[in-house]
């Protein structure tokens, strides 16, 4: 699993001087600046929106609060490239918004073009703020009450207590949420490419497919990788020595009921975010999808597309899920330093942008391929084509690197809830370790394994850059279809696959909130 990272970092052995010089002279400065601006903008935006909304739903009561509390997570189901193209379509010169404005205010009216840095930041803020929102909500809820009451008993006003006590207590959660959002921003390929905003991720793809220079692409990827690692290091440092400790059965914050204009403002704030980030884009997608003539839908082979995407995702889920289970169980049986390190390394994969993983995966596979081909030639005197590169193996390998963390964390926490005395009880009753896995652990982990499989499945369906770079010839997924149609501004044709992705993305959210409700 570490291979792709090492490959990317090791790519400097054979510098592709000319391409590099070209990049340096022309774009590198711009690429770096754009990437950093994007990350910073998304970080600030998600922090502001996520933390504010979390505080609003935790500390206050207003009409519709319960619904908003839950619904504000929904934008997480929407990949950034989907909301991006929905907005582009909506605010297009020929789109509904501009058309309406022209009708109202005359033909001269123009809106600023969304295809700019601020547009990308806005899009990503709208879909990534739930990371901050979710973590902040938990932190506010769990530390809130006692800390707030102590602060107030020491003479702090509620507003002051929020700044002096609540925010610092929630800092680890806020940092973690913002870091997640920024990672996603760095990893994003679909949105920046549709918006024509040049970042490092997008450059990896362009150098790869446009200039056919893999070494240079890998080197650009290594820059991106360094940015991600720096971000991880900053996150560690900012989080400090504090851990997410769970106050035992902490009482919930007493809510203050808002009335009058304050209540209206709260509803408006939540409603506006939810409408922009979820309701409007989804409505837009539905409208486009309905507008598309039925025969055209059929011609596009939508059913086949869904089928191949789901099968690929299922293969990814089974493969990654099995790997995660093996890793977690090995660590339980022998909690050695090697197993622990492997687990920690594996959990880093999620921070790696898909484009970085793609270039990192390809080099070792190509090497194995050449070795295989040479061996085959020596044995039977006939040289087969490349077996691994450009086959589903490459894509699946990339998925394993990227999503192992998702599977591992879920599996490991399910396994961790099983007390070790159960293992020992089973063995003292004459059952081997493998027998214990089958008769004790697997039955008890069923829920955890199912949710791990679901999460990996959904993430695979949403994944774009790695799939795009590594897919076998002719393989198309929903995400690729959306991206290709949007690149051609064929909004209507992109709408149906995009809706399918959003629908799939809702699955874990619905499951999650059901589990959440069950726990209380």
């Amino acid at each position: 699993m570490a291979l792709p990272v090492l490959v990317v970092l090791g790519s400097w052995h054979e510098p592709a001087a000319d391409v590099w010089r070209h990049l340096w002279q022309t774009q590198l400065g711009e690429l770096l600046a754009n990437t950093l601006l994007l990350a910073a903008g998304v970080g600030a935006g998600t922090l502001l929106v996520g933390a504010a909304l979390a505080w609003l739903v935790v500390a206050y009561d207003f009409p519709g609060r319960r619904v908003f509390e839950w619904a504000l997570v929904l934008p997480l189901a929407m990949p950034a490239y989907v909301i991006g193209f929905a907005f582009l379509a909506m605010f297009d010169f020929a789109g509904p918004v501009q058309t309406a404005l022209r009708a109202l205010l005359g033909p001269g009216v123009r809106l600023p073009d969304l295809r700019a840095g601020w547009g990308v930041v806005l899009m990503m803020t709208l879909v990534f703020y739930p990371y901050v929102y979710l973590l902040a909500r938990v932190a506010f809820r769990e530390h809130g009450r006692t800390a707030l009451e102590v602060a107030r008993s020491l003479g702090h006003s509620p507003q002051r207590a929020f700044v002096t006590v609540i925010l610092p207590l929630a800092r680890p959660a806020l940092v973690a949420g913002v870091a997640l959002a920024m990672m996603e921003a760095l990893a994003d390929f679909g949105t920046v490419s549709t918006f024509g905003y040049r970042t490092l991720t997008e450059a990896v793809y362009r150098v790869w497919t446009g200039m056919f220079d893999r070494t240079a692409a890998t080197q650009v990827a290594s820059l991106l990788l360094l940015l991600v690692l720096a971000l991880l290091a900053i996150e560690r440092a900012l989080r400090g020595r504090r851990r997410f400790t769970r106050a035992p059965r902490a009482a919930e914050l007493p809510r203050r009921t808002l009335a009058g204009w304050r209540a209206a403002a709260a509803v408006a704030a939540c409603g506006a975010v939810l409408a922009l980030a979820f309701v409007l884009p989804v409505a837009e997608l539905i409208a486009w999808a309905l507008a598309l003539p039925a025969e055209q839908r059929a011609r596009r082979g939508f059913a086949g597309l869904v089928g191949s995407t789901f099968v690929l995702a299922a293969a990814s889920a089974v493969l990654v899920g099995a790997l995660a289970l093996v890793l977690a169980y090995a660590r339980r049986l022998r909690p050695s330093r090697v197993a622990t390190a492997a687990a920690q390394f594996a959990s880093m994969g999620y921070a790696l942008p898909g484009a970085v993983i793609a270039v990192g995966v390809l080099a070792p596979l190509a090497w194995v391929d050449r070795a295989l081909a040479a061996a085959a030639e020596a044995l039977v005197g006939h040289r087969p084509g490349l077996v691994l590169t450009g086959s589903a193996v490459a894509v699946l390998f990339a998925y394993a690197v990227r999503f192992l963390a998702v599977g591992y964390q879920t599996t490991e926490s399910a396994l961790g809830r099983i007390p070790p005395t159960l293992d020992e009880a089973a063995r003292s009753l004459g059952v081997t370790m493998r027998g214990a896995l089958r008769r004790v652990h697997l039955p008890l982990m069923r829920g955890g394994i199912l949710s791990a499989l679901t999460l990996i499945w959904v993430e695979t369906i949403k994944e774009l850059p790695a799939t795009l770079l590594l897919r076998p010839f002719g393989l198309k997924t929903l995400a690729i279809e959306v991206w290709e149609r949007t690149s051609e501004s064929l909004w209507a044709e992109a709408a149906l696959p995009a809706l399918a992705i959003v629908g799939v993305g809702l699955v874990p959210l619905l499951l999650g909130s059901r589990l959440d409700a069950g726990r209380r």
Partner: protein, 360 residues
């Protein structure tokens, strides 16, 4: 004949730290119940895990029923040792019914035999009607009884119980103790019982082993452990004890609180410490008495007094709960020792310090 022999077993977790179990040797006879008693961190649980095979000894051997299971290059895996365990938390499988839990270790039997054996064991622990309940539907005590039935089902050579009652309420604990002892005796089970409560150890066990810092300090009947402790640690861990210095002379051991017989303690001039338990000490109120009551603890079944002697030395005295003397009263102290227990003079280490510190 001993069913389980542990010989010179040592287990060290970290090089830099003293061993968790340090050269322990003990043996248990068929049908015997042995209690291992010691403070937390004394190596009780490690010793159990060495017997079950979840830990391997660095030195020494474990022999169960004539078969070498650990040491001398042999390591028999836990599932092949025939050792049953009841854990502190019961460790029932939450996804299986009571029935399924008890049948878990009976995979070698046919379905009919298995069913019969499960029924037999549930009857034995008095829970036949709970067969189809899940563990979370049972009380804590019932869970431990099911855990016991489950461990006994495959008829293990030795049953180990790791603080099985420590999660239960105090009044339930006494009841469970009797019931478990009855079941173990009725089935003729050889058992090792780990606990840090002396009451539990004394009530249930035929013999008690006291562990301290990985060493077995004494292995004897409960009575001997209490009345004739082999070391100062055993003396103060099992019941309260105060140590009073004395010197042997022609008449006996002379101390601040009287002279006691010195049978075989040593030649005249030998300095010793005499163990005094609170129930050895009585007093009568007396205006010219030389001792002073400095503390009075009403405990319900007894009242514990702390007496200060002229030199500043303190003694505990256990009196009936209706004793009315109060702090500040002057008294005359009398110490009556049924068994005189002495130890060589020493510098009191922290773990051996009597509960009531001498001369505050």
């Amino acid at each position: 004949m001993s069913l389980l022999s542990v010989t010179n077993v040592t287990r060290r977790y970290r090089r830099t730290q003293p061993p968790a179990v340090d050269g322990v040797t003990l043996s248990v006879s068929r049908g015997e119940i042995l209690a291992l008693l010691g403070p937390s961190g004394s190596g009780k649980t490690t010793l159990l895990r060495l017997i079950t095979g979840f830990e391997a000894p660095d030195a020494g051997t474990v022999v169960i029923d004539g078969r070498l299971v650990a040491g001398q290059g042999v390591t028999v895996s836990p599932e092949a040792r025939g050792v049953g365990i009841v854990f502190q938390d019961g460790a029932l499988f939450p996804h299986l019914t009571v029935d399924g839990n008890v049948a878990f270790g009976l995979h070698a039997l046919g379905a009919a035999e298995r069913r019969a054996r499960v029924r037999e064991l549930l009857a034995l622990v008095g829970l036949p009607i709970f067969a189809y309940r899940y563990p979370h539907e049972l009380s804590g005590g019932q869970q431990q009884l099911v855990a016991l039935a489950r461990a006994l089902a495959p008829a293990p050579a030795v049953l180990l119980l790791d603080e099985p009652f420590s999660n239960l309420d105090a009044d339930l604990r006494g009841q469970m103790r009797e019931q478990v002892q009855r079941i173990l005796k009725a089935t003729g089970t050889t058992a090792i019982f780990v606990t840090h409560g002396q009451d539990e150890a004394f009530a249930i066990a035929d013999r008690v082993g006291v562990l301290n810092r990985g060493r077995l300090e004494q292995l004897d009947t409960p009575e001997t452990i209490y009345h004739r402790p082999a070391t100062p640690f055993v003396a103060s861990f099992v019941g309260d004890a105060t140590f009073i210095p004395g010197i042997v002379d022609g008449t006996g051991i002379v101390t601040d609180v009287g002279t006691f017989p010195a049978d075989g303690v040593g030649p005249p001039g030998t300095g010793v410490e005499v163990m005094i338990r609170p129930d050895d000490v009585s007093f009568v109120p007396s205006a010219d008495g030389d001792a002073l009551i400095v503390q009075r603890d009403f405990r319900g079944t007894e009242t514990l007094f702390c007496l200060e002697l002229p030199g500043g030395r303190r003694l505990s005295s256990s009196q009936p709960s209706w004793a009315t003397e109060g702090v500040g009263d002057r008294v005359r102290v009398a110490v009556h020792l049924e068994h005189v227990v002495t130890f060589p003079r020493r510098v009191a280490g922290p773990e051996m310090a009597p509960r009531v510190a001498p001369g505050a």
